[in-house]
C-alpha cells in the first residue's frame, strides 16, 4: 500500500506543482520585471503588487498542496524516489502548461532542453 500512497503523493505533487508554476509565471508575466519595478517604486511596492495578484495567491495555494503532498511522500519513500519522480514529471507538465496557458513559444530548442534536463534528473537520482 505504501507504494500506492507514494505514487498518489507523486501524482498530486506533480499536478499541483505544475499548476502553481504556471499561475505564478502568469502573475510575474503580468506584473513585469520585478527589478525594474523595485528601482522605480521601492521594495514594499513590489511586495504589495505581488501579494495583491490573484493568480499569484492561487499559485501559492497549489504550491502549498504540492509542498505538503511532497512532505508526506518523503515520510513514506526516500528522497531518491520522490525527488526525481516529481521533479522530472513536473518539467514536462509545466512545459505543456506554459505552452497552452501562457502562450510561450516552446520551440524545438526548449523541448530539447526540457527532455535533456528531465533525463538528466532521472539519471542523477539513479
Amino acid at each position: 500500500m505504501r507504494t500506492l500512497y507514494t505514487w498518489v503523493c507523486i501524482f498530486i505533487t506533480v499536478v499541483a506543482a505544475s499548476a502553481g508554476d504556471v499561475l505564478i509565471a502568469l502573475a510575474m508575466r503580468r506584473i513585469g520585471d520585478l527589478g525594474v519595478l523595485r528601482r522605480s517604486r521601492g521594495l514594499s511596492a513590489v511586495i504589495m503588487r505581488v501579494l495583491s495578484s490573484g493568480a499569484f495567491l492561487t499559485g501559492i495555494a497549489f504550491m502549498a498542496i504540492a509542498f505538503f503532498s511532497n512532505l508526506m511522500g518523503l515520510s513514506w519513500a526516500d528522497l531518491s524516489l520522490m525527488g526525481p519522480a516529481t521533479a522530472s514529471l513536473t518539467f514536462i507538465v509545466s512545459a505543456l502548461g506554459a505552452k497552452f496557458f501562457l502562450g510561450e513559444d516552446v520551440d524545438r530548442r526548449r523541448w530539447l532542453a526540457t527532455i535533456f534536463v528531465c533525463a538528466g534528473v532521472l539519471l542523477v537520482a539513479h
Binding site: 512532505l71 501562457l102 526548449r110 535533456f116
Partner: protein
Amino acid sequence: MTIRKFLVLFSVVIFSPVGDAFLARGMKQTGAIDVHHLTHVLAAVASPWIILGIACLIAGMANYMTALSFADLTFVLPATAFGYVTMVLIAHFWLGEHVSLVRWAGILLIVMGVGVVARGPSRTGETGEALYAAAGREESE
C-alpha cells in the same frame, strides 16, 4: 542576459537545493507519518531543520519569481535545473559522498539542457514589461 539576471538565476540554484537537503534531513528525523494521522505532517514544521529548509526555500522562491518576471517559465525551469548539479557537487566535494558514473552522466545531460536553453531567447509571448517602459529601462539585451 545581464549580470543581475544571471545572479538571480544563480541564487535559485544555490538556495533551493540547500533548502531541499535540510527538509529531507528534517523529515527523516520526524519519521514515517501514519496514513490515519495525516495532520502529524504539520508537527514536522516545528523541527529546526524544517524551519531552516523553509527559510532557504523562501529565498530560492523569491529569486525564482524574480526570474519569472523577466523570463519564460520554459526558460527558467531548465535553467534552474542546474540546482541538481549543485546538489550533487555539494554531496561529492563537501559531504564526501560517492557519486556514481551514471550520476555524472545525468549531470552532463542537465548541463547540456541548460546550455541548449540558454542559447535561445529568455522571453517570448506578450509581457507586462511595456507597462514599465515609461519608467525607463536601464538594461538592453
